[in-house]
Subunit: 148 residues, 2 copies
């Protein structure tokens, strides 16, 4: 038990290597708002242009966004979420709900999200195996790197 | 419509100002694994010590972690999630599930999470208003900054 452990290899860490940075998640937010072009994403996020260029390149390389040409002279591209990118939307929905509770922004609405039928969304994480809510009280995280 | 818009004020952005950085979320991961002391958090995340010191300070200042003394000569503290910190756990659970699908790590288990009763957790985001799953296909994001 005295050796220094390696950093934990886990899929949260591998995920955060790609999206664990505020501009990357804010870029995804904008694509969900329907903003797909560099200038609109830049203006709505406030990301420095050089940083945004790098983040967009990484998100495309990692298969989270895809480029779609919308103009050819000069070549211009829109950025659209792939299936993997779309599947990050629940993460943003939870961040939005957490923020509305713990980090309210004066004078600004939270992202307004409607569910099918047009009612405001009220996200709750449930377990598909048992149907119950997943709360901090009723889950256990097993450390598979610890000796039994 | 020609003025340059301000960056969008939203609770996702205000949330990411605090936790939109991989080390911060990995620190939270470790507290959920039961790691609460600086050295164990450092070893299991691999965060540079100076960066980790800053992240822990920020997380305490922002009310996501709290310090609890465990030794007095010299003074030493453990870091435990507050209620706000606990409520970020569903975000990590979703990141973990997304990563298991899109960023599997060779030779490493995903974080193993059990639900009450001991079955593996299978997270799904549902809408408390209607009970249906929240998927990228059935939600609309309204841009409240756009003119009608």
């Amino acid at each position: 038990m005295s050796r220094t452990p390696e950093p934990r290899a886990c899929t949260i860490a591998s995920t955060l290597e790609v999206v664990g940075e505020r501009w990357s998640l804010l870029v995804l937010r904008e694509t969900f708002y329907g903003m797909h072009r560099f200038d609109e994403i830049q203006q709505h996020t406030g990301a420095p242009r050089d940083v945004l260029t790098k983040r967009l390149r990484t998100l495309v390389e990692e298969g989270i966004l895809e480029k779609r040409p919308y103009q050819s002279h000069p070549a211009r591209y829109e950025y659209h979420p792939t299936r993997a990118g779309e599947e990050l939307r629940p993460v943003l929905i939870l961040l939005n709900a957490w923020g509305a509770r713990w980090r309210p922004v004066d004078g600004a609405d939270a992202m307004v999200i409607e569910h099918e039928g047009g009612h405001p969304i009220d996200p709750v994480l449930r377990c598909a195996a048992c149907g119950k809510e997943i709360a901090h009280r009723n889950i256990s995280v097993l450390d598979t790197t610890r000796a039994a």
